[in-house]
Amino acid sequence: MIRYNCLELLAPLVTDQIVVTSLSGQKIEWAHLSKHEGNLLVGTMGTALGVGIGLAVALPHRKVIVLESDGSVLLSLFNLPTLANLNPDNLIVFVFDNASYSGTRISEPTATAGRTDLATMARGAGIEKAVTVRDLESFQKEMTAALSENGLRFVVCKIEESKDHRNILRTDMDPLENKYLFVRYLEKSEGKPIIRSRG
């Protein structure tokens, strides 16, 4: 299974959901496939899931989708028990696990290339619906259920290491530009001010 193919299935289904991405392929490929105003391209290791949790608990009526990677989740494992105990039923986490730090360009293996299983860890942390998918059909089934049903889901997507994202033109969107577009979209869709000049 290739991550780009998974994201190709997800992109047309995103309407009013919020999408938070981690770095590297998740960010590059998603930004290429989706121009949704509700995309927040966090783009740093170990931070997207935390931001997604904050958005999910603050906007419990909005579906929040976090696109994570194995290396990024491994860098922020403290998120798992926090997520389990908060248990936001509007949050979907897709972890694209290629068992590699592919962003490094020398593709050193992550712990999931060895004995570590992120879905098992998530279940151990208390996340009930934590599963692993290994093919596109299973991904589509989980994705469809996650989008249509309430309940926290943590879907580990075992993917082949693909370097295709290196051939995609990276977004030029500055983090501040992304923040303002994202926040103005939320202000419009939620009908409330968020960032004001006077706080």
Partner: protein, 170 residues
């Protein structure tokens, strides 16, 4: 922290519009935690690391919450990466409520804490985070509301470092 001061602190946060607090428990300011929990104004999010406390507060702030992170001073070091990559890089206002453990005025300072305390200011300055040291509860309402106004004006984290009277045992 004495109960009366804890109460005034919580009132100050409420009056300043703070409505979301992610936190890792610590000792010196802990008397305000039951008060925060008892007040429906605040959405409290207990977390396992100050690093995620910052990320979660950032997400909440981008969704319209007036966010604070309550942590021990050591948490500033733990969360430095998140403060930089999310709080500052994205320009997210949040109030850091920091127990200034190991500072000279920390009434419970020992060799266990002093090395953290003496490096706190250089750490915040390296991160470019505006801060104020608060040693007593006089005008606490104004001190908190000034910091909240500054975090919105700057659109980035602002820290309040509590020491002195705030570190006295109950």
């Amino acid at each position: 922290m004495k109960a009366e001061l804890a109460n005034r602190m919580v009132v100050a946060l409420k009056n300043s519009g703070i409505d979301f607090i992610s936190h890792v428990p610590e000792t010196r300011l802990s008397e305000m935690l039951p008060l925060l929990k008892a007040d429906d104004t605040f959405m409290l999010v207990p977390v396992a690391s100050e690093a995620e406390a910052v990320g979660i507060a950032a997400g909440a702030a981008l969704a319209g919450k007036r966010a604070a992170v309550y942590m021990e001073g050591t948490g500033v070091f733990v969360s430095a990466y998140n403060l930089l990559t999310v709080g500052i890089r994205y320009g997210v206002p949040m109030l850091l409520l920091v127990s200034y453990i190991g500072s000279v005025e920390d009434q419970r300072n020992t060799f266990l804490y002093s090395q953290y305390g003496c490096r706190m200011i250089p750490q915040l300055e390296a991160l470019g985070i505006e801060y104020r040291i608060i040693e007593d509860g006089g005008n606490i309402g104004a001190k908190v509301s000034n910091a909240v106004r500054a975090m919105h004006a700057l659109k980035q984290p602002v820290a309040l470092l509590f020491t002195g009277e705030f570190t006295e045992a109950q």
